[in-house]
């Protein structure tokens, strides 16, 4: 399945579908100009059904890019696929976005590690709330 940008406002960009190695090159080209020029932008990840490591890597690179400009790119509405990747790679702290987990999700994704400071982003901290 494809992956595309389905919504784009001043403060929010929503992507939908399968963010995998097959689409990362195109998505990079499409997302870069959007995130680069806007302050306080959020990426809505709620409709990402599949996220592989290549997709995750693109999200991380975008975040890092914005941080280099002393701004933040927030990830919002993490879908289970996104939660799984952040949990496994221990990147919740690095991303430092608030995470809202349903009861089901908190059983699946324990976030047992990687929720605090990260060597590449020492202020890192994930605020995890359970719904």
């Amino acid at each position: 399945m494809d992956c595309r940008i389905v919504e784009e406002t001043e403060s929010l960009v929503r992507i939908e579908g399968e963010l995998t190695v097959y689409h990362v090159a195109r998505l990079r080209d499409e997302l870069l100009p959007l995130v680069r020029d806007r302050a306080g932008l959020s990426l809505d990840l709620g409709d990402l059904t599949v996220l592989d490591t290549a997709g995750l890597q693109l999200l991380l690179a975008l975040k890092q890019e914005v941080r280099r400009q002393d701004r933040e790119l927030a990830f919002r509405r993490h879908s289970p696929a996104v939660l799984k990747a952040l949990d496994l790679f221990g990147l919740a702290g690095f991303c430092a976005d608030p995470l809202e987990l349903s009861a089901e999700e908190s059983a699946l994704f324990p976030f047992a590690y990687g929720t605090g400071s990260h060597p590449e982003y020492t202020p890192g901290r994930a605020a995890i709330t359970k719904r």
Partner: protein
């Protein structure tokens, strides 16, 4: 060879090795019975085979391997028993996989017959699987027992895993996410820090390349092999270090230095992942901890878990060994043999050049120069030895390959035969190893077919019903020796003699020839004593071919036998085919080389030293030593000097002298094979180019010694 072909070669080598392993484990299981370790190993082999096929994009092989893997997965989970029938089926599967691979490498589709065979096997596997599922339902009740068994598998230990994924991981269709998910099944990920530092700016990155890595603190009761197994498919594409519970600071320091982020940045990640503590890092930075002999420090202890640290310390010996063995595997390097040959050739040429240089140095009389050339010579000698060692491989793999063969042939003939192997770690030149496989097969087939009796006959003779075939390898005075011994009926010397007379190979004689001589007749063309011609051997083509093949390797084969007790074939081979240490002798105006390892001594003789005018013999400290006049044999006669020299050589039990004109000294040389046109030439096995460009012939001592023995026998009708 194009790059593509090279990759192809790697796949080919890997798949054939894996199939070999797979078969080896199965045969082991057949005798020793299946246990958890062997089933695991079998599963891993099948799993890796599937992975290899997948990487080579051989879909047919993947599909079939998948069924095999599923069956073994069931067995591994204890839901399916590995019965002898399943072992037999799996052996057939191994053959089928081999066929499928062959086809795939040959870019051809399997034929209808092969497809049918594959389908039949697949059905057998699925049937076995169904049976397993039924058993699973039954065993569900006893799940509690399984859990108990799992608990005693081993104490939980703390590991540190450092991985940097290579850029091509994604392109090869691999994704680290399932890999980490799988790792979680093997234990607990205590801490994991993803290394994002390698990520370039977004516009500069190639989104399809992987830039990530992880530092992982991992608790598990699994062993190193099982943990490393989780990374198997990315192994080629990543930089992986697994530090065991007993890893010391020195190992951590080494890891830090090796990581691509640089020592300081890497330290931050290791610190974050709990692999090292801040005080330890401080120690390391001061350079204190890297001194030798510092006691190993448990990773668990670093996490402040002193009790666990002690528990780990008691386990250390076992772990050490494991670590050592895995370190050994990790340090292997696959090299194309063509490259090795080129190196050996170059070192050989270097040795030749050095001889020329030595002579020039000697002529100049410059002592400094002489001293330097002496040192250089020694070093060239060492380089040559090292180069040759590169080609040396253990003969055990070849030996083990015969297990299957012995099993199959034994079954076909209704004989129960055990193959025992010793000296499998004896090393031999790879070229030689490859070339002895055929003659070995022949001799082994003979032993099974003619040597070892049926169980009934054996029992009647008061022997155990199971026959034994023993393969043994060892080094002896510059030769490599293989013995193939069976405990069968032995060879009846009288019958061999009668048969030889019948075939006209020898004449009926008044006296009876020595046993050695009779057995030597077995290697004559067209000789076969088998009463019945079977499917396997006894067609009258056989040992003569074996003898020819072995002689082509500058080797020798003989046979000893004791009626009723068994037969032993002994194959003697040179350690290497490429280079020899020789002794240079002058015959007339030409030069010949005697392989040093076959040389015993040199002596000078005068015209009065011959003890017999009729034949060439001298008295060597009270023993009769027959000799060959090389000048006469090769028609190189020059004006005869009053004093001549005898070089005493020995090959196996044969000892003789070679009459030469001059002794020129030791000489290290590479062997250049003679062209096909010289095939019929007797007594010369090769040639070499001397430092001054002249050609020297390398003497074929086995042939010359054999000829002397023959001459003596024809003169006196008995061996010397």
């Amino acid at each position: 060879m194009t790059e593509n072909e090279e990759i192809w070669e790697v796949f080919r080598a890997e798949s054939s090795e894996l199939l070999q392993t797979f078969e080896g484990i199965l045969l082991e299981m057949e005798t020793a019975g299946p246990d958890a370790d062997s089933i695991n190993a079998l599963f891993r082999a099948a799993h890796t085979l599937k992975g290899t096929a997948g990487m080579a994009e051989f879909q047919g092989v993947v599909d079939f391997a998948h069924v095999v893997e599923s069956l073994l997965e069931e067995a591994r989970g204890g839901r399916l028993d590995i019965t002898p029938e399943i072992i037999s089926t799996l052996l057939l599967c191994r053959d089928h996989l081999g066929d499928l691979f062959d086809r795939a490498f040959g870019h051809s589709e399997p034929g209808a017959e092969m497809r049918a065979a594959g389908e039949a096997l697949r059905r057998r596997l699925l049937d076995a699987l169904d049976a397993g599922v039924a058993a699973e339902l039954q065993s569900a009740a006893s799940a509690g027992a399984d859990a108990a068994a799992g608990a005693k598998q081993g104490a939980t230990a703390r590991w540190h895993i450092s991985i940097r994924f290579g850029p091509d991981v994604f392109r090869h269709g691999l994704d680290p996410i399932p890999l980490l998910a799988y790792l979680k099944e093997l234990g607990t990920i205590e801490k994991l820090v993803t290394v994002t530092g390698g990520l370039p700016p977004v516009e500069a990155m190639d989104p399809e390349s992987c830039y990530l890595g992880c530092e992982i603190q991992f608790s598990s009761d699994r062993d190193r092999a099982q943990i490393e197994q989780a990374f198997e498919f990315v192994r080629q594409d990543c930089r992986l270090t697994v530090l065991g519970p007993d890893a010391g600071l020195a190992e951590l320091a080494e890891l830090m230095r090796a990581l691509p982020e640089g020592e300081d940045r890497a330290a931050d990640f290791l610190l974050a992942a709990g692999a090292i503590t801040a005080p330890e890092l401080e120690l390391l930075r001061k350079g204190i901890a890297i001194t030798e002999g510092r006691p190993a420090r448990g990773l668990a202890a670093a996490a402040g878990d002193a009790a666990a640290g002690e528990a780990n310390a008691t386990e250390t010996p076992g772990r050490d060994e494991e670590f050592a063995s895995s370190a050994r595997t990790a340090s292997f390097l696959r090299i194309e043999s063509r490259k090795l040959d080129a190196l050996i050739n170059q070192v050989g040429e270097l040795a030749i050049t050095a001889v020329g240089l030595n002579q020039a140095a000697a002529r100049s009389g410059d002592t400094d120069l002489l001293e330097q050339t002496a040192i250089m010579n020694r070093m060239i000698g060492e380089a040559r030895d090292s180069a040759l060692k590169l080609r040396m491989v253990q003969v055990g793999d070849t030996f083990r390959r015969f297990r299957r063969y012995v099993r199959e042939v034994g079954r076909e003939l209704g004989k129960d035969i055990r193959l025992s192997i010793s000296g499998g770690d004896t090393e031999l030149d790879k070229t030689v190893v490859e070339k002895i496989e055929d003659p070995l097969t022949h001799i082994i087939r003979n032993a099974i077919d003619h040597g070892i009796e049926t169980a009934a006959l054996r029992e009647a003779a008061g022997k155990p019903p199971q026959g034994t075939l023993h393969l043994r390898a060892y080094h002896e005075t510059g030769s490599f020796v293989i013995e193939i011994a069976d405990d069968g009926a032995g060879i009846d010397a009288a019958r061999v003699q009668a048969r030889a007379i019948e075939k006209g190979l020898i004449k009926a004689q008044g006296h009876s020839p020595a046993e050695d001589e009779i057995f030597a007749l077995l290697f004559q063309p067209g000789f076969s004593t088998a009463a019945e011609v079977t499917n396997l051997s006894g067609r009258g083509v056989g040992l003569d071919v074996v003898k020819k093949e072995i002689e082509a390797l500058r080797g020798m084969v003989n046979v000893r036998s004791q009626p009723g007790a068994g037969t032993t074939f002994t194959i003697r081979l040179p350690l290497t085919l490429a280079i020899i240490d020789g002794f240079l002798v002058g015959v007339g105006d030409s030069a010949c080389i005697v392989p040093l390892e076959q040389m015993v001594e040199c002596l000078t003789i005068g015209s009065g030293d011959r003890i017999d005018s009729r034949r060439n013999c001298i008295n060597l400290r009270g023993e009769v030593l027959p000799f060959i006049d090389l000048g006469e044999m090769f028609h190189l006669e020059a004006e005869r000097q009053r004093k001549q020299n005898i070089v005493v050589v020995q090959y196996g039990d044969l000892r003789c002298g070679l009459l030469v004109d001059d002794l020129l000294g030791e000489y290290q040389t590479i062997i250049k094979p003679l062209g096909k046109i010289f095939d019929g030439l007797k007594g010369i096995s090769g040639m070499s180019v001397l430092g001054d460009g002249e050609i020297a012939f390398i003497l074929d001592i086995p042939a010359l010694a054999g000829q002397v023995a023959q001459n003596e026998a024809s003169l006196y009708g008995s061996p010397v």
